[in-house]
Amino acid sequence: MLLPLAALVWRSTDRGGHNFWFAISNPQSIAALKLTLIVSAIVVLLNAVFGTIVAWVLVRDDFRGKSIVNALIDLPFALPTIVAGLTLLALYGPKSPVGIDIAFSRYGIAGALLFVTLPFVVRTVQPVLYELDTDMEEAAASLGASPPLIFRRVILPVLIPAILSGVAMSFARAIGEIGSVILISGNLPFKTQVSSVYITGLIESANTPGAAAVSVLLLAISFVTLLGIGGIRRYVTRHDA
């Protein structure tokens, strides 16, 4: 596992630091990276909000078919990402039956990333909510707190580490995602080209050093995200023996 990564880092600099810098600082590369980071950030924020709501509904609410909905959450983990991309194209593409066409646009990319990262926040928040006794909320209510205040002051602080950890995992996944994005994005340079697709293009045009350079950059971002997850995990378990 480490050997391939070492080869990657070594290759990215084998034509000197100048070329490395050139490869990652050319406008197309920067545009792709910027797009990747911005769309991922937006998607992750949406995930944080909706993921928490979905988790709350799945834990605290009760309705017919809840267990099926609960199982459906894992669908993006089970479904091949290229299929996910195609499914989104089928509903929200050029021949959309609902009249929404987001293919070859940044909204399309966002939609695809939303799909593939949907489970992360739900699945990190769910167990925490499940463990969270209603006592605390009842105690807060008996002390005169209104429901919004209870959510903000009692529930949210407990959930924050789990949400953050889900957000970090979603973010890592989003910046590296290719399968679901490759079809729906249309891969238009400067407009809808994300980094992973850009790297694939560089490899296909035999510009391996350039691809390696951008890959190392993504690798570095992944590392930082991973460290972030580790940090959150340590923080979360600090009360455990």
């Binding site: 596992m1 050997l3 391939p4 990564l5 990657l8 909706f50 709501i53 979905v54 709350w56 509904v57 799945l58 834990v59 605290r60 609410d61 267990s67 909905v69 199982a71 459906l72 894992d74 669908l75 993006p76 983990f77 479904l79 091949p80 290229i82 299929v83 996910a84 499914t87 989104l88 089928a90 509903l91 039956p97 609902v98 799909f115 949907l118 769910q126 167990p127 909510l129 499940y130 429901p147 890592a172 590296g176 995602e177 290719i178 399968g179 079809l183 980094s195 992973s196 790297i199 490899i203 391996t208 390696a212 890959s215 993504l218 690798l219 992944s222 590392f223 995200t225 991973l226 997850i229």
Partner: protein, 264 residues
């Protein structure tokens, strides 16, 4: 009570728009012009080969990752060794890493100008643009799943049962087979299911290392991509549906094997 209902509505609408709607649509498109057309599309030589190759890779990668994953989990939880913290941190790396980066890294190591590529070529083994690299890429990206599921279970059950077995005269292998393995079996099963899902659906890394030779190194996911771009939408949707059906089976397996406390 009203806020509860509206929250439920928000959650379900969100899931419908992002998740369920698109999936239903693919099924609709695939069967739009009848089951016969669907069957012709997937039994087309290229599509059938792609599906077979995907299954073959999964059949090699999943058992290897299962054995390796269980062994690594035991090492992480039960043994002390130098660099354990590092190993622990690196296990999750494939989850945070773009599959494209993984593919490129393998290409650079095993490719013609890579560190190990020439050695393999001299011994008559073509690694990149062939099955070995595709299997390696799949193993790499699906490596963490078994470990991530088994490690917490091993921690949870503790080592008392294993100690008890050893005082009763069981040797290491007997203890593993009769005590440890039965105790972690659901965790392993869940990890295997996740590994299988990831292996079958892998696109980015395999895309890079396979060379995408039609009828040779084209997996099902690569076929979908190529078919769609070739305006063979029928083929793309049909193979997608096959993969989606496998996903449904996997999903059912996941909800069966999932650790109890997570299923609220």
């Amino acid at each position: 009570m009203r806020s509860k209902l509206s929250l439920r509505l928000v959650a379900l609408c969100y899931l419908a728009v992002v998740l369920v709607g698109p999936v239903v649509m693919v099924f609709y498109r695939a069967f739009e012009s009848g089951v016969g057309d669907f069957w012709r599309a997937i039994s087309d030589g290229q599509a059938a080969h792609a599906l077979w190759l995907t299954v073959l890779i999964a059949l090699i990668a999943v058992p290897l990752n299962t054995i390796f994953g269980v062994a690594l989990s035991l090492a992480i939880v039960r043994r002390k060794f130098p660099g354990k913290g590092l190993v622990n941190a690196f296990v999750d790396l494939p989850l945070a890493l773009s599959p494209v980066v993984v593919g490129l890294a393998l290409l650079l190591l095993y490719g013609r100008q890579g560190w190990l590529g020439p050695w393999f070529l001299d011994h008559g083994v073509q690694v990149v643009y062939a099955l070995p690299a595709m299997v390696l890429a799949t193993i790499f990206v699906s490596l963490p799943f078994v470990v991530r599921e088994v490690v917490p279970v091993l921690r949870e059950i503790g080592d008392e049962q294993e100690q008890a077995a050893s005082t009763l005269g069981a040797n290491g292998w007997q203890t593993f087979r009769r005590i440890t393995l039965p105790a972690i079996r659901w965790g392993v099963a869940y990890g295997v299911v996740l590994t299988a899902a990831r292996s079958l659906g892998e696109f980015g890394a395999v895309n890079v290392v396979s060379g995408r030779i039609q009828g040779k190194t084209e997996t099902a996911t690569l076929y979908i991509d190529a078919a769609y771009l070739d305006f063979n939408q029928k083929g793309a949707y049909a193979v997608s549906v096959v993969l989606a059906l496998i996903s449904v089976v996997i999903l059912v397996a996941m909800s069966i094997f999932k650790p109890k406390e997570e299923t609220a």
